[in-house]
């Protein structure tokens, strides 16, 4: 088990890095208390992982995803995907640990 990222999410992340002119930045994901179903996900693009983060690399080291240790307890096995529909455009988390999600998909409970 670890963190996975789909090709669509990789493509999106690479595009955002291009737009930001930060081609070597990493994707940092995590979980926070709050949101309509108890816990919510957050994403950020940062210069480097923090000292105690769990770090995963993809595409021959070109893509780095960092997760803080606390969040990793809730994200182990999660696949990060990117979705573009009429209703919303954004990264989505397919989390096997998640019990139920709220309808906006931004928060979940275990």
């Amino acid at each position: 088990m670890a963190i996975q990222i789909t090709d669509r999410a990789v493509t999106r992340f690479q595009k955002l890095r291009m737009m930001r002119q930060t081609p070597d930045h990493v994707l940092r994901v995590g979980v926070r208390g709050g949101g309509c179903s108890g816990l919510s996900y957050f994403l950020d693009i940062v210069e480097a992982p923090e000292a105690k983060d769990k770090v995963f690399t993809f595409k021959e080291g070109e893509i780095t995803v960092a997760v803080d240790r606390k969040s990793y307890l809730f994200l182990n096995g999660t696949e990060i995907d990117f979705e573009k529909t009429l209703m919303k455009t954004g990264f989505v988390f397919n989390n096997p640990l998640s019990g139920s999600s709220c309808s906006c998909g931004e928060s979940f409970t275990l």
């Binding site: 737009m19 930001r20 108890g38 240790r69």
Partner: protein
């Protein structure tokens, strides 16, 4: 949490943000840094018949010639202008102003739509704002927009209004030359006199700035609104057209010649010879242009900038040699002859290591970053620039609801709405906490206060808005306001005091070490709280409407309730959640009958207000059930 800088230009606009101490321009999804300040009102409709948003930027520019009457460019020149001034500009730009019926607002005709310059600018700002939102994965906190140094109050107010209309928090307007100076870090010299030479596509501005104690003041400005790089292109285009024997070229032929001229200008920025090859309708031209020939073509135009330079220096009572630095802004300052002329006139080599198209946006981003308080540039806020530990309040069952997260730049404000747990609850206890643990008891208690005087209302109805504000000095104030009665209480805490770096580090470590058990406990408590809420509602309904129970319902409900009460004593969260859901299910038909009877009773009373009241309650009951 980031502030952004926007260079809202006459021809092109940019957005930039500081990331890890470095200001960067945000590119569009095709990798372009410039966005044309162009808006086209295509007249397209949404499915519901309302006007679809206009095309903005490159999309609007693409077919600007075919759609000249609905495409608006250079709208910045109308910002904050009076009708009389606007008429002059409109004549120059071949715009049609909408006839104002006795009003003094400038309105531009775009096809069959009438728009104000502020609205058009707001669309451009919004596009850039959305891009920043995308790149930062969060809505920008605030925005700094640049304006020409010569903008008067009305022009500045119009720019501010455009920002507001675009839905953004405009922190400050910044003079373009000051932004350029900031981008070059000139404020670090602490004092001096600088000139900013800004030659864009169609306009030229020169500003003399005085820096003293790290603050810039504009001493004088001058310029020419009809002088820019496009004039260089036009000179080359004239030469090409003459070679083809074409007189009075218009439309596509003229445009092709202008584009070839622009390409030659670009080629000659680095190269010595440009190869020109262009189709002009039936004719075609192949020719070479050397840098020397090009320089002679454009020299009279380039030297016109010096008239404005002399003017600005005279106004500031300075000599060219008095300048401590010359900053180049605008794409047209890439032309080698322009640099040569500037260098000769001021007697020093101009600063040019930053991209002249981006320098204003970069400076705006730096200023925006200073305003977050997290920048290294701001020395007055160096002591504490972020919130060291998260701040929140204790909620039902002893869990923490965080309002401000660790590492948020200050100043910062956050609000959340809470409600009461018990019918007729007249006061709410607010326990302000600092830390990263999930349970209140494991965090540092900062303050407790009470919001009293809430009138009798059923549980869940009062809306208590709690607002946390940390000001630039790190002082936390917490206020609570009951939204219906406006009952209000507040307290002030100096939250960072008494905690050293080691203690903060230890608190963070503890949060990680206890992460799993903390969250488990939090979820368990939340499950219990929810179960107790459902049980309370069921008990209340049973005592009030027992006559509506059918068959063996009473027995089933009582069985599930007893079981749920029992598991609530234990730690089996899954079981508590299961039984809570089960209790919801077995009481659903009973709840339905209760709602129907309430509704019927109210309808019989024929009192419209009462009916509405019952409907409200039904909707609320349905919402509660859904939650």
């Amino acid at each position: 949490m980031a502030n952004i800088g926007i260079d809202l230009g006459t021809t092109n606009s940019l957005v930039a943000v500081v990331m890890g101490q470095t200001p960067r321009v945000l590119l569009d999804d095709e990798g372009r840094s410039l966005t044309p300040s162009v808006v086209r009102y295509s007249g397209a409709k949404n499915p519901d018949g309302s006007d679809a948003p206009p095309m903005i930027g490159w999309e609007a520019l693409e077919n600007a010639v075919e759609h000249a009457s609905t495409t608006l460019t250079s709208v910045k020149r109308f910002m904050g202008r009076s009708l009389d001034e606007a008429r002059k500009v409109a004549e120059e730009l071949h715009y049609t102003l909408a006839d104002g019926e006795g009003q003094d607002v400038v309105r531009i005709q775009a096809g069959d739509k009438v728009v104000t310059p502020v609205e058009v600018s707001a669309w451009i700002l919004r596009l850039l704002y959305m891009r920043a939102n995308e790149c930062l994965m969060a809505e920008p906190t605030g925005v700094v927009i640049t304006v020409p140094a010569y903008f008067d109050d009305a022009q500045r107010q119009a720019t501010r209004d455009a920002g507001k209309l675009a839905g953004m928090n405009v922190l400050r307007l910044l003079n373009e030359p000051t932004a350029a100076a900031l981008a070059y870090g000139l404020q670090e010299n602490s004092q001096g006199t600088y000139v900013v030479f800004d030659l864009g596509g169609g306009t030229f501005d020169i500003s003399v700035l005085e820096l003293s104690e790290g603050v810039f003041q504009v001493l004088s400005t001058a310029g020419d609104t009809r002088l820019g790089g496009d004039d260089f292109d036009r000179e080359v285009a004239k030469l090409i057209l003459a070679k083809a024997g074409i007189e009075n070229a218009t439309g596509k032929v003229l445009r092709a010649a202008m584009e070839a001229g622009e390409q030659a200008k670009r080629d000659l920025t680095t190269g010595e010879i440009a190869e020109i090859s262009v189709e002009l309708g039936s004719a075609s031209v192949q020719m070479q242009l050397t840098r020397g020939e090009f320089n002679e073509l454009i020299r009279p135009i380039a030297e016109r900038t010096l008239m404005s330079c002399k003017q600005a220096l005279a106004d500031a009572e300075m000599e060219p040699g008095d300048m401590d630095g010359v900053v180049l802004v605008g794409g047209s300052t890439r032309v080698p002859l322009v640099r040569e002329i500037v260098e000769q006139f001021f007697g020093r080599e101009p600063l040019s290591n930053l991209d002249p198209d981006k320098v204003v946006a970069l400076g705006a981003a730096l200023q925006a970053d200073i305003l977050t308080g997290s920048s290294e540039l701001s020395d007055d806020l160096l002591l504490m620039d972020v919130v060291p530990l998260s701040l929140g309040v204790e909620t039902m069952g002893g869990v923490v609801e965080r309002l401000i997260w660790r590492s948020s730049p200050i100043p910062v404000t956050a609000s959340e709405t809470f409600t009461t747990q018990v019918d007729g609850q007249n006061a709410v206890d607010l326990h302000v906490l600092q830390g990263e643990r999930e349970l209140a008891k494991d965090n540092r208690s900062l303050a407790r206060f009470k919001l009293k005087g809430i009138p009798d209302m059923p549980a869940g109805l009062p809306r208590v808005k709690v607002t946390f504000t940390v000001d630039a000095d790190g002082i936390l104030s917490v206020s609570a306001t009951e939204q219906y009665t406006k009952t209000h209480a507040e307290i002030e805490v100096q939250h960072s005091y008494g905690l050293g770096d080691d203690e903060i580090e230890a608190m963070l470590e503890a949060a990680i070490d206890h992460a799993e058990s903390d969250v488990d406990q939090r979820l368990l408590i939340e499950a219990r709280v929810e179960a107790q809420q459902v049980l309370a509602v069921v008990d209340k309904s049973l005592s009030r409407d027992a006559d509506l129970l059918a068959g063996n319902e009473a027995q089933v409900i009582s069985q599930v309730s007893v079981a749920l009460r029992q598991v609530c004593e234990g730690d089996d969260r899954k079981r508590i959640q299961e039984l809570t859901t089960k209790l919801d299910e077995v009481t659903a038909p009973f709840a339905q009958r209760r709602i129907e009877r309430d509704l019927k009773l109210a309808l019989e009373g024929q009192d419209a207000l009462e009916v509405l009241d019952v409907l409200d309650r039904s909707v609320k009951a349905a919402e509660d059930a859904a939650n």
